[in-house]
């Protein structure tokens, strides 16, 4: 590194570490999205030498802003252009005569909204306007984000944060510092290359010959198919980079969701694995077949395809919205701190809540269920995992807990999942998420007192295993389906196929003499009427009695 660049770097470091470096982030949020973004910006702000503090607009002292230097507003719009509930009071105050002037404040607004509403991002526009009216200085242009807000909001922050960071402790905007601060934060100023530092090398690998096969869908002709390209790709580049290369160099019509590497909306399926394509290297996922290397890229399952690899996340968003995912807080005791009275939580509780919904991409988790594409109303694992985390949050009001239990236990809730195994087998999220879904299912079954078909299935499965050590399908059919269900199976050919084994082969005509006494059980491949017990069956009973006396 040259002496000049060392000196410039030292200058930026000194600038970013001296004086008041506070950044106030105010969120107006109805469903938690704005709150989440504000928290994310506050975390990112550290890279720019800023000390971010996130404030709920509800109860915030507006006039305290007059002494601040840097402010970010993140605000969603509710209904027909209305402020979210937690922003109403502050908004009224800001428009009143009691509101202080904000000269000396530099601000930026990130507005969240939905283009399907007539008044798009109206609340954010209103905050942008009132800050200007009160004399504050807009440091970057406001961004108006649609439903897929994550990627554009993150890009906007890459402009807003260095600009705010370039406001010195006296409130002067040092525009000439912005580029240097941007480089500093991204690491490209080689600040790690100082005396005790090191330069992180870019790990590159040689190009590999790959057949890249991509699903195509043209909505104008309603036609589907696949396009393949024989490519020479460096193994270290990401799947997203490979798609960009194809689009730029071969087929400009190829459509996929682009964004940051961790943009949750970019999820695709690569060789059957559900991934965020910016995070996966080509050489880590390429499949070897017939001495050629294949990358088969498809849209994630379970959502309507809009074009090529782009799927519609709107249905998922609607499902999420239907569960009313925002926090309805319980009244609880706080603890006195120098900052005032705040709530507290056991570390283990906080970790558990975090782990239950610790997934980066809701679309990716949603598509991990094999039932989602075939069960229209099913809320899906992503919505249910979030609901389960909220339900286990001690800050949630008891009446809201009861509502969430009702949602999770509803016919479109966790019982609509036919098989949890596909969710367990995927690796795009921690096991705690899928284990949380199992807990949610157990809770739903218990709340229903083992009634309904799912509850009965689980109950009688356990009961038969306790009775003999083996599952007794005949008991399950009779107890769960009941006489009407059995008749349905008789007339739909299911029973006949059981008896005949149909396409299955072999087997005795009579499984046991019981088939002669109580047909049709035991005939052909109908399950037996009674099971013989496993050896030392008393041990099985003892385990049941020791661990769960309900059965």
């Amino acid at each position: 590194m040259s002496e000049e660049s060392v000196s410039a770097t030292e200058g930026i470091e000194e600038f970013l570490s001296s004086g008041d470096r506070s950044l106030e982030l105010l969120f107006g949020s109805q469903s938690g999205n704005a709150e989440g973004l504000a928290a994310k910006f506050a975390k990112t702000a550290k890279s720019y030498g800023l000390e971010g503090t996130v404030h709920d607009m509800d109860g915030f002292d507006f006039n305290s802003l007059s002494s601040k230097k840097r402010v970010i507003i993140v605000c969603s719009t509710w209904g027909e252009g209305e402020q979210p509930d937690n922003a109403e009071e502050l908004w009224k105050f800001a428009n009143s005569d009691a509101a202080s002037r904000l000269e000396g404040v530099h601000f930026a607004v990130c507005a969240l909204g939905d283009t399907s509403y007539e008044l798009f991002c109206e609340s954010g526009k209103e905050w942008d306007s009132i800050f200007e009216k009160l004399g504050a200085t807009r440091i970057v242009e406001r961004i108006d984000c649609d439903v897929d807000y994550d990627s554009p909001a993150s890009e906007w922050a890459l402009k807003a944060l260095p600009a705010l960071a370039a406001v010195d402790s006296s409130g002067n905007f040092m525009e000439e510092m912005v580029d240097g601060i941007t480089d500093y934060a991204s690491g490209s100023s080689a600040v790690a290359g100082g005396e005790d530092g090191f330069v992180v090398p870019t790990i590159e690998t040689e190009a590999i010959q790959v057949e890249l096969s991509v699903f195509r869908f043209d909505p104008s002709t309603n036609s589907t198919g696949r396009d393949s390209w024989a490519c020479s790709l460096p193994g270290h580049i990401s799947i997203l980079s490979a798609l960009r290369a194809i689009k730029e160099g071969h087929d400009g019509s190829l459509s996929f969701r682009d964004g940051n590497d961790d943009d949750p909306s970019t999820a695709v399926s690569v060789n059957g694995k559900l991934v965020l394509p910016g995070r996966v290297r080509v050489d880590s996922i390429v499949s070897s077949r017939d001495e050629s290397l294949i990358l088969r890229i498809d849209p994630i399952p379970g959502s309507d395809v809009i074009r090529d690899l782009i799927v519609d996340h709107w249905a998922l968003e609607r499902k999420r919205e239907s569960t009313r995912p925002w926090m309805v807080a319980a009244t609880r005791e706080g603890i006195q701190t120098p900052q005032g009275v705040i709530g507290s939580m056991e570390q283990s509780t906080a970790l558990r809540i975090h782990s239950l919904a610790n997934f980066d991409s809701a679309p990716l988790l949603h598509s991990s269920s094999d039932a989602v594409p075939y069960a229209n109303g099913f809320l899906g694992p992503a919505v249910l995992a979030s609901a389960w985390a909220r339900r286990n949050d001690p800050r949630t009001a008891p009446e809201r807990v009861a509502e969430i239990d009702s949602i999770i236990g509803s016919e479109n809730g966790i019982r609509a999942e036919t098989d949890l195994s596909p969710i367990f087998r995927r690796d795009g999220y921690p096991k705690s998420v899928s284990e949380g879904l199992l807990e949610a299912r157990t809770k739903a079954i218990e709340n229903d007192a083992f009634n309904g078909k799912l509850g009965k299935h689980v109950w009688w499965y356990c009961w038969t295993v306790k009775s003999s050590g083996k599952v007794n399908d005949t008991v399950l059919y009779r107890q769960v389906l009941g006489p009407i269900g059995l008749l349905g199976n008789l007339f739909s050919g299911v029973t006949a196929r059981m008896m005949l084994g149909f396409t299955r082969t072999g087997g005795n005509v009579l499984n046991s003499l019981l088939g002669m006494v109580v047909p049709p059980a035991g005939v052909g491949k109908m399950p037996r009427q009674f099971n013989s017990s496993v050896s030392n069956h008393h041990e099985v009973v003892a385990i049941f009695n020791e661990m769960d006396g309900r059965f």
């Binding site: 039932a371 075939y374 069960a375 690796d427 005795n508 385990i543």
Partner: protein, 286 residues
């Protein structure tokens, strides 16, 4: 030296899927597998018991592991659901010493048993490819299984730590095996997707749509027969095939047999059944 394993036949083999037990015995003889039957082993829970009480399912399976461990053997099973359930519970015990101690306390109190974590669980498919070798399979295959075959793995063995060295999301052990037996393997996406077997009683309409989609994809890709590595999924795809077709309007006529039947026929056992199957393949389908 014969390969020795403790044998768990899966949940349905004792009752509604006797063909799996029949053919597994013959296949084990052909392959030189020495099977020790665990007469006291319980159902693996099939992912159902754990919906009521996961620790209960783990304790029951720990008892099975302890029995195999007492014989100094690893467990083999031809059922993917059993392999997956057992393996998941095994890994939970291995990764959580506190849980292992608590479960061992229950075993000591109720059965006088102890499980130290030494036993492992394998599906037949992985033992064939990784332990026995496909070259031996080629030599044993006296009857060419000369059909276009869709191998169905199910999701239960397609998870990290359960599928041996095969790929979790894009496996090809089954295809290699079909090729070694003289068949033409079909490449299809549905081979690792769930047909919803655990939900057949409570969510039948969804299960019918899932199974119809899986079977019809195999048909569209040109398969003449599906061979399943999972007893439960095998039953769903066979027994509910007609109902699934009527419910969805999708053509699902397709013979479905189990992996152990495929091997048994190819090795020259159960020739009458194989002849019947040939006839069925000839007459079933579009």
């Amino acid at each position: 030296m014969p390969l020795k394993y403790a044998y768990h036949p899966g949940n349905a083999a004792h009752s509604g899927s006797p063909e799996v037990s029949d053919t597994m015995e013959a296949v084990a003889r052909n392959l030189g597998l020495e099977l020790t039957y665990l007469d006291g082993a319980t159902s693996c829970g099939a992912g159902i018991i754990k919906q009521a009480n996961h620790r209960l399912q783990i304790a029951l399976n720990a008892r099975t592991f302890a029995m195999a461990e007492a014989h100094g053997l690893n467990i083999i099973t031809p059922c993917a659901a059993t392999a997956g359930n057992l393996k998941q519970d095994l890994e939970k015990l291995r990764s959580d010493p506190i849980l292992l101690k608590e479960i061992n306390d229950v075993l000591a109190k109720t059965c006088g048993m102890h499980f130290s974590g030494e036993t492992d669980v394998h599906h037949l498919l992985h033992v064939i490819v990784e332990e026995i070798g496909l070259d031996k399979i080629e030599k044993l295959a006296v009857n060419k299984f000369d059909f276009r075959v869709a191998g169905y793995y199910s999701p239960y063995i397609q998870m990290e730590g359960v599928c041996g060295d095969d790929s979790v999301n894009d496996p090809n052990y089954f295809e290699q095996l079909i090729d070694a037996l003289g068949g033409v393997p079909i490449n299809w996406e549905g081979r690792v997707l769930s047909v919803g077997a655990p939900g057949i009683f409570s969510e039948e309409p969804t299960v019918l749509r899932q199974s119809a989609a899986v079977i019809s994809e195999a048909k569209e890709e040109g398969a003449e027969i599906i061979v399943s590595a999972c007893n439960l999924s095998h039953s769903i795809m066979d027994i509910y095939q007609g109902k699934a077709s009527r419910a969805t309007g999708i053509s699902t006529n397709m013979p479905v047999i189990h992996l152990t039947e495929l091997l048994s026929f190819a090795f020259g056992n159960h020739n009458t059944r194989f002849a019947q199957l040939r006839t069925r393949i000839a007459v079933i389908g579009d």
